[in-house]
Symmetry: C2
Subunit: 376 residues, 2 copies
């Protein structure tokens, strides 16, 4: 895996680059749609590629491990083959889902015992097991197994959790280095910085992670309920330590404004369920602000879904029609909203990239952050 | 509205034609996907047109009347404008839904009082009101208001119901002729033959309907639970009376085999929820037979959804993947199955058309009826 920085913004830490994987090159900054169980909900693959311009998908190890399961994925030849997706895939480590979804879980030095949210069956994730699972999935980018602390989190817990995450990271790297990809393409492993909202812990973790000298680094444990200012502050602190020449991935972030701000702090990669999940609930992100399409006010608004939008759905359907679909609980409603939101997120990071390449990111960002945060 | 017969099969009553409407020409035999509330569930319009090759959509008057309602539809400029669909639309008269969906309904000479299945609100449909509603919707083809008898139905009830349907038909035509289209395009009205499973009633009704000299004629009250042989028998009886030079529409039919058989009896137009509704439940119709994709046997079948299929989904996705999507209740499952089934239905009627044009329909039909009826 290679990462080339093509331009850096003069007034911020924003950068534009290319991340090269076995399944193709990814222009950064990039947003990764979340394809939890091997599908980005409500999107055909062709539309993900051709309309939303998806460059890399995120898959969830926890979900894929439970369904379709390792046996089927291995027999298929990995997730790319199973879901017929030729572009790059990143998988998380399952840690976050174990904490947020599993019925019961018990943490120990060894790993986590948990019960499936589907059928209550018992499973154990250890750093080694999570590497094996991601080898089976065959993601281009694998994530180290970590504990994601909640917000708020007391200092002592955050410190102990970070230290555990570091010991798990060592085991992940050791097991990663003693195993091979299964499907003939390269896999990279990214470590994750933790440390909750405490700057001293975050600095310690950022140094620990940087010292691992992996081909990319991630920031976890943010976007878990903390105020945006704290998220930006911690992200800035960590980005100043993480090596400049490697891609930085801010996990689970966020709103369009969050993404624009964090790009200017030096983040290259993002993922979030917001454009898909909120879209399915009728929330549309646009370059002029946020629309709740269920609102009565749109019932006879026969203008396009997003007059400034670039996607098929933006120009083809009207707001009144989309509101009607949501009112009737018709599948096409979430389908349109998802396609719109993903296309908008992609447009946003691509536009950011163009501004960085032209060295005028910061002014555009400040204006755009204000626009995208309005309620229409 | 014009209808031109282009070819007639030598060994059956099958014919190939062109039905010309203000929104374009429709090659027949044709299958009309059901777009109940102004959307064919789980399908983007571009895919309906480009992938499934849809030539005309069916909308349901009952559903559209309740939501979005006449006020919004009129303000939008009719259903074509409201849903951004440029091709032809046919609307049913709402009679069938009033009987099958409404909470309570009371039939009288005047019409039907019913309570909405959504909120229990009270409404009245009369022949005149149903014409007005379809003028508001702006369908290219409107249907007369009828009573659809259940199966089985005793003779006396069937006779009285047919007579009521005929009186309602007279009122529909009279009101149709005294009103004008609202959106500048032509609208046609099709009368409906009723009479349950009784040949003498069906003959009487077919003559009554033919005498109305409308530009097309429909057969209602079939595919309501009667054995297929009775459906074919009644359809043959009615088709022998309905004028050859006008399109014949068999309402609510049916399976691929039903459609192929009824084409050979002289039917030109079909609609049915089967490809969409059954698709959403995991049933796939293919040229080799019927697949229940939820079945365990497909869990590691990495062959294409339909190796013989012509749609994007048929070649792109595998059966194992599609089964996984249904197992996880992922929206993409119903989306794929719907796109496949509609594309298959369209392929089937188009293939039938090609065989009729080449005057070798009957042999192909006999072979195909057997194939499509298998369980895989």
């Amino acid at each position: 895996m290679e990462f080339h920085i093509q331009a850096e913004d003069g007034l911020s830490n924003a950068r534009a680059g290319q991340l090269i994987t076995s399944h193709g090159s990814i222009a950064t900054p990039v947003f990764m749609p979340v394809g939890t169980a091997g599908t980005v909900k409500a999107m055909h693959h062709k539309d993900l590629e051709e309309i939303a311009g998806t460059r890399i998908l995120l898959g969830n190890t926890y979900h894929l491990y439970l369904r379709p399961g390792m046996h089927i994925l291995t027999e298929a030849g990995g997730l790319h083959a199973f879901m017929s997706w030729e572009k790059p895939i990143l998988t998380d480590s399952g840690g976050y889902q174990v904490y947020s979804l599993a019925h019961r879980r018990k943490l120990s030095e060894e790993g986590v015992m948990f019960q499936s949210h589907i059928d209550g069956s018992r499973h154990v994730f250890t750093p080694e097991r999570v590497i094996d699972i991601q080898r089976n999935i065959g993601a281009d980018i694998m994530m180290a197994f970590d504990e994601c602390t909640p917000f708020p989190c007391d200092y002592e817990y955050a410190r102990k959790s970070m230290e555990l995450t570091h010991r798990w990271l060592d085991r992940c790297i050791s097991h990663f280095e003693s195993t091979q990809p299964l499907y003939g393409h390269h896999q990279a492993l990214f470590p994750i910085v933790q440390g909750s909202t405490y700057k001293d812990l975050r600095l310690e973790s950022a140094h620990y992670v940087s010292d691992c000298q992996m081909p990319g680094n991630a920031i976890g444990g943010l976007s878990v309920g903390e105020p945006a200012d704290i998220m930006y502050d911690i992200t800035a602190t960590v980005c100043n330590v993480l090596p400049r020449e490697k891609p930085r991935y801010l996990m689970g972030v966020g709103t369009p404004a969050n993404i624009l701000e964090c790009i200017s702090l030096g983040v290259d990669m993002f993922d979030c369920v917001m454009p898909t999940r909120n879209g399915r609930n009728g929330m549309l992100f646009t370059s002029e602000g946020i629309i709740n399409i269920r609102n009565q006010k749109w019932k006879n608004d026969f203008s396009p879904v997003d007059p400034q939008g670039t996607a098929y759905v933006d120009q083809h359907y009207t707001r009144a029609y989309l509101r009607h679909l949501f009112a009737c609980k018709e599948m096409l409603g979430p389908m349109i909203a998802t396609m719109h939101n993903l296309s908008f997120y992609m447009w946003l990071v691509n536009e950011a990239r163009q501004r960085i390449l032209r060295n005028n990111y910061q002014d555009w960002k400040n204006d755009m952050v204000e626009r995208v945060s309005r309620r229409l």
